[in-house]
C-alpha cells in the first residue's frame, strides 16, 4: 500500500529538479501566508462578499489586472531562465526537456494568461465608464468569464508542480502534442487550462459587443464613440469569430488523446497539417485581438496629452474594422514553408502586406494628433511615444516576413522571434502599461508617483532594444528558435550575451514598476486623485475617482466624441448643466454561482487531465447544477434608493 502510494506520488508531483523544489516551497509559503493573513485580520467574509462574489465590472477589471501582472511575473521568470541558458554556449542551467517546458509555458502564459486578462481588465474598468453605462450588459456572465479565466490559468500553472508542464510549444503542434509523442499529462493541462479560460474569453467578447451596441449613453451615435471603445468593439468581433475555432481545435486534440480519435495522428488517416491550419485561423486573429485595444489606448492617450482632438477619427475607425476583417485571411503566412504551393502562398503574402496599410494609417493619425499639440510628458504619453518607433520597426520586419520566398530564409529563426516580440512587447505590453498608468487614478483613486515610473520606462525601453535587436542579427546568422544550447563555433555568443543583458534590464524595469505601485499604496492618502487628474476628454473623467458602484448618478449624454472636454468648455463659458434629478438605480446582485461553477470546471478539467473519469463527471455535474440553479433564481437585482445616491454623491463630490 505504502509502496503504491509512493509510486503514485512520484508520478503525480514533479520531482528531481531543484528549481521546482524551490518553487514548491515558495508556493507553499505564499499560500500559508495568504491564509494566515486573511484569518488573522478576519478578512474571509470581506474577500467573499467584496471580491469572490462581486459582479461589479470595476472590481472584476481590477482582479483581471492583478492576475495578469502575477502571470507577467511568471512568464517573465520563464523568459529570464531561457535567456540565462542561452547567455553563453554550452550552458547547463536548464536541461533540454526543462527548456522545452519553459518556452512552452512562457508563450502560452504571456499570450493567454497575461495579455488577454490585462486586456479584459481594461475593457471591464473603462468601457462602461466611457459609454456612460452602469455596468456591462450581462454582469453575471462577466463574473463567470473572469472566474473561468482565473481557474483555467490556475489549472495550467498547476502543471508546473503536479504532473509536469506541457513541452510542445505554445501552439502544441501535433504529432508532437499527440499521445504517441507526448504521453504525459502536460498536454492535457495545456488543453484544459486554455479551454476553460477560452470559454470565458468568448463570453466576454459577446458581453462587450452587446454592451457597446445597447448601452451607450443617449446621443452617443456610432461615430461619437470614444476610440478605445471602438477598439474594444472591433476586438470583440474578432473574438466572436476566432475563439470558437480554438475551442474546437483543442477539443479535437483532446479527443485524439483521450478518446482515441484520429484527427491529427500520424496513423489511421489523421492529418496533423489540419491542426496547424485550424490553430492559426484562431492564432493569427488572436494577435490582432490583443493589439487592437492597445491601439485604442494609444488613441485616447495621444489626444488627452496633446490636448487635441484625435486626428482622422473616421479613418481610425475604418482602419480598425478593416484590420478585424483582414485578420482572418492571413493565417497561412505562419507556414509558408510547409508546401502549400505558390498560389496559396502568394494570396496570403498579399493579404499580410495589405493589413500593414490600415496600421500605417493609424500611425500617421497619432503623429498628426501630436503635431502642433501641447504635449505633456507624463508616463502614459511616454509609453505611447516609445511605442511608435518600436512598432514601426516591428511592423516593417513583419512585412519582410510576409514576402513568401524570403520567408524560407527567416522561418523559425531568431529573426522571427525578434519580430513578434517587438510587436507584442512594443505594441501590446507598452499599450497596456500606458493604459494602466492612464487609468490607474480612475481605478484606485490615487496617482502613482512619476519618478519611479520614469525609471521603469527607461529601463524597459533600453532593455527592450538591447534584448531584441541582437536577435534579428543572430537570426539572420542562422540561429533557430527553441534551441536549448549552441556551440562556440557558431559565432552567436556575443549577440546572445548582449540579448540576455537586455532581458534582465527589462526585468529590472518590472521591479521598478512593482516598487512604484508598492510606494503608491503606502502613500495613497497623500496622492489622492481628483475625478479628472489628466484633464481628460471622455466620460470616464466626469465622475469621481474611484467611480461609485453605480458609476453615473444620472445617465450622462454622449453627443460628442470628447464629450467631457466639450462639457468643460461649456462650463468655462458659464453654461452649467441643470441640477441632477436622481432616480433609483437598478443594480445586479452579487452571486456566488460564477465562482463555484468555475471551481467545478477546474475539478472537471483536473479529472480529464489525469484521465480520472469519476472526477471529470463530478465536476461537469457540478457545472450543470450551477447552471440550473442560476436558471431558477429570479431574485437577481435590486435598486439603490435616491437617498443613498444623494449621500454617496455628496461625500464623493465634496472631496473632489
Amino acid at each position: 500500500m505504502l509502496e503504491r502510494l509512493k509510486e503514485f506520488a512520484s508520478e503525480f508531483f514533479v520531482t528531481g529538479d531543484p528549481l521546482i523544489y524551490g518553487a514548491d516551497v515558495a508556493i507553499g509559503i505564499t499560500i500559508i501566508a495568504i491564509v494566515s493573513v486573511l484569518t488573522y485580520f478576519k478578512k474571509w467574509g470581506w474577500l467573499w462578499r467584496n471580491w469572490l462574489t462581486t459582479v461589479d465590472h470595476k472590481k472584476i477589471g481590477i482582479m483581471y489586472i492583478i492576475a495578469s501582472i502575477i502571470m507577467l511575473f511568471r512568464g517573465g521568470v520563464d523568459a529570464l531562465m531561457m535567456r540565462l541558458q542561452l547567455a553563453m554556449p554550452n550552458m547547463d542551467f536548464l536541461h533540454p526537456e526543462h527548456y522545452n517546458q519553459v518556452f512552452t509555458t512562457h508563450g502560452t502564459i504571456m499570450i493567454l494568461f497575461m495579455a488577454m486578462p490585462f486586456m479584459f481588465g481594461l475593457f471591464n474598468v473603462i468601457v462602461p465608464l466611457q459609454i456612460g453605462a452602469r455596468d456591462v450588459a450581462f454582469p453575471f456572465l462577466n463574473a463567470l468569464s473572469f472566474w473561468l479565466f482565473f481557474l483555467g490559468a490556475m489549472l495550467f500553472n498547476l502543471s508546473f508542480v503536479i504532473g509536469g508542464s506541457p513541452d510542445a510549444g505554445w501552439l502544441s503542434y501535433p504529432p508532437l502534442s499527440e499521445l504517441s509523442h507526448s504521453p504525459g499529462v502536460g498536454q492535457n493541462f495545456y488543453i484544459w487550462g486554455i479551454q476553460i479560460s477560452g470559454i470565458g474569453s468568448l463570453a466576454t467578447g459577446i458581453n462587450f459587443m452587446v454592451t457597446i451596441i445597447k448601452m451607450r449613453a443617449p446621443g452617443m451615435k456610432w461615430m461619437k464613440l470614444p476610440m478605445f471603445t471602438w477598439s474594444v468593439f472591433s476586438t470583440c468581433i474578432i473574438i466572436l469569430f476566432a475563439f470558437p475555432i480554438l475551442t474546437v481545435t483543442l477539443a479535437l486534440l483532446f479527443l485524439d488523446r483521450f478518446a482515441g480519435a484520429h484527427f491529427f495522428t500520424l496513423d489511421l488517416g489523421g492529418n496533423p497539417m489540419m491542426y496547424i491550419n485550424l490553430i492559426w485561423m484562431w492564432g493569427h486573429p488572436e494577435v490582432y485581438i490583443v493589439v487592437l485595444p492597445a491601439f485604442g489606448v494609444f488613441s485616447e492617450i495621444v489626444s488627452t496629452f496633446s490636448r487635441k482632438k484625435l486626428f482622422g477619427y473616421k479613418s481610425m475607425v475604418f482602419a480598425m474594422l478593416i484590420i478585424s476583417f483582414l485578420s482572418f485571411f492571413t493565417w497561412a503566412h505562419h507556414f509558408f514553408t510547409m508546401g502549400s504551393g505558390a498560389d496559396v502562398n502568394a494570396f496570403f503574402a498579399v493579404t499580410t502586406m495589405l493589413i500593414a496599410i490600415p496600421t500605417g494609417v493609424k500611425v500617421f493619425n497619432w503623429l498628426f494628433t501630436m503635431y502642433r499639440g501641447r504635449i505633456r510628458m507624463a508616463t502614459p504619453m511616454m509609453w505611447t511615444i516609445a511605442f511608435i518607433p518600436c512598432f514601426i520597426v516591428g511592423g516593417m520586419t513583419g512585412v519582410m516576413l510576409s514576402v513568401a520566398p524570403a520567408d524560407f530564409q527567416f522561418h523559425n529563426s531568431y529573426f522571427l522571434i525578434a519580430h513578434f516580440h517587438q510587436v507584442l512587447i512594443g505594441g501590446v505590453v507598452f499599450g497596456y502599461f500606458a493604459g494602466l498608468y492612464y487609468w490607474w487614478p480612475k481605478m484606485f483613486g490615487f496617482q502613482l508617483e512619476e519618478k519611479l515610473g520614469k525609471w521603469a520606462f527607461w529601463t524597459w525601453n533600453i532593455g527592450f532594444y538591447v534584448c531584441f535587436m541582437p536577435q534579428y542579427a543572430v537570426g539572420l546568422m542562422g540561429m533557430t528558435r527553441r534551441l536549448s544550447t549552441y556551440g562556440w563555433d557558431t559565432g552567436w555568443w556575443e549577440l546572445n550575451f548582449v540579448s540576455t543583458i537586455g532581458a534582465f534590464l527589462m526585468g529590472v524595469g518590472f521591479l521598478f514598476q512593482v516598487a512604484q505601485i508598492a510606494d503608491g499604496i503606502r502613500k495613497y492618502k497623500t496622492l489622492k486623485a481628483s475625478g479628472d487628474p489628466w484633464d481628460g476628454r471622455t466620460l470616464e473623467w466626469s465622475i469621481p475617482s474611484p467611480a461609485p458602484e453605480y458609476n453615473f448618478a444620472v445617465t450622462p449624454r454622449g453627443d460628442d466624441v470628447d464629450e467631457w472636454w466639450e462639457e468643460k468648455e461649456r462650463r468655462a463659458k458659464g453654461i452649467h448643466p441643470p441640477e441632477p434629478v436622481y432616480e433609483p438605480i437598478h443594480m445586479p446582485k452579487n452571486s456566488s454561482i460564477p465562482f463555484i461553477m468555475s471551481v467545478f470546471w477546474f475539478v472537471a478539467g483536473f479529472g480529464f487531465v489525469f484521465g480520472w473519469l469519476w472526477m471529470a463527471i463530478l465536476g461537469l455535474a457540478g457545472v450543470g447544477i450551477c447552471m440550473i440553479a442560476r436558471s431558477f433564481s429570479y431574485d437577481t437585482d435590486y435598486y439603490i434608493p435616491v437617498d443613498e445616491i444623494k449621500r454617496t454623491e455628496a461625500s464623493l463630490r465634496g472631496s473632489v
Binding site: 450588459a137 450581462f138 468568448l202 467578447g205 459577446i206 458581453n207 459587443m209 452587446v210 451596441i213 445597447k214 448601452m215 443617449p218 466572436l240 469569430f241 475563439f243 470558437p244 475555432i245 475551442t247 474546437v248 481545435t249 479535437l252 479527443l255 478518446a259 482515441g260 480519435a261 484520429h262 484527427f263 495522428t265 496513423d267 489511421l268 488517416g269 489523421g270 492529418n271 489540419m274 485550424l278 445617465t555 432616480e583 433609483p584 437598478h586 450543470g624 440550473i628 436558471s631 431558477f632 429570479y634
Partner: protein, 206 residues
C-alpha cells in the same frame, strides 16, 4: 392567467422605467451572438469532416453504413419539433400558459425521439465495425453528428427546466425572454441538421 398577466405588467414596468435598457432585448441580442459563435463551431467541425471523410484507413466506409429511412425519420422528428416549438411561442404570445407548456412537452418528446433514433443509428454503426477510433473518417463523423446530438440533449434538459419555471411563474417578461431564447436555439439546431443531412448523409450516399 390573470395572475400571469398582472405579473407581466409588473415586470414590464421594471424593464422600462427611467430610460433603462431592456434586459430581455439585450439577452436576445447576446444569444444571437452566441449562435454566431456556434455557427463557427459547427463550421470547423464540418470542415474537419469534409477533409477527413475519405481517410478511412482501410476500414468501413460511411456511405455503406448510412440507412436513409432512419435518417429521414430523424429529419421528420426534428423538423416537426421545430414547428411545434414555433407553436409554443405563438401560444405564449397569446398568453396561454397551459398550451405553451403542452407544445413544449410535444417538442421535447419529438426531440427525445430524434435522439433515440440517432443513438440507435450510432450503435448499429459500431456493430458494423465503424467505431469512434476506427479511422480519422469515423472519428470526424461521430464528432460532428454527436456534437449536434449533444446540443439537442442540452436543449432538452434546458426545456424541461423552463417548463417547471413556467408552471411556477406563468408568462412574465423574464420567462417570455427565456422561451424566446430557447426557441431560437431549437430552430438553430434544426438549421444545423439540414446541413448535416445534406453534407453528411445525402452527399454521402449519392
Amino acid at each position: 392567467m390573470a395572475q400571469a398577466a398582472a405579473k407581466h405588467g409588473e415586470n414590464h414596468a421594471h424593464g422600462h422605467d427611467h430610460g433603462h435598457h431592456d434586459p430581455q432585448e439585450m439577452k436576445i441580442l447576446g444569444f444571437w451572438f452566441f449562435l454566431i459563435s456556434d455557427v463557427i463551431l459547427f463550421s470547423v467541425l464540418f470542415a474537419t469532416f469534409i477533409v477527413l471523410r475519405d481517410n478511412t484507413a482501410g476500414g468501413p466506409i460511411l456511405s455503406d453504413l448510412i440507412k436513409m429511412p432512419g435518417v429521414i425519420a430523424e429529419t421528420f422528428l426534428l423538423l416537426t419539433s421545430s414547428f411545434t416549438s414555433g407553436l409554443a411561442v405563438l401560444a405564449m404570445n397569446q398568453g396561454k400558459v397551459k398550451q405553451l407548456i403542452n407544445w413544449l412537452i410535444i417538442t421535447a418528446v419529438l426531440g427525445a425521439g430524434f435522439l433515440a433514433l440517432e443513438i440507435y443509428e450510432f450503435v448499429e454503426m459500431v456493430h458494423e465495425g465503424f467505431s469512434y477510433t476506427t479511422s480519422a473518417a469515423s472519428g470526424a463523423f461521430f464528432t460532428l453528428v454527436g456534437t449536434h446530438g449533444l446540443h439537442v440533449s442540452l436543449g432538452l434538459i434546458w426545456m424541461i427546466g423552463l417548463m417547471f419555471q413556467l408552471k411556477k411563474r406563468g408568462i412574465t417578461d423574464v420567462t417570455r425572454g427565456k422561451i424566446n431564447v430557447i426557441s431560437l436555439y431549437w430552430h438553430f439546431l434544426d438549421v444545423v441538421w439540414i446541413f448535416l443531412l445534406t453534407i453528411v448523409y445525402l452527399m454521402g450516399v449519392m
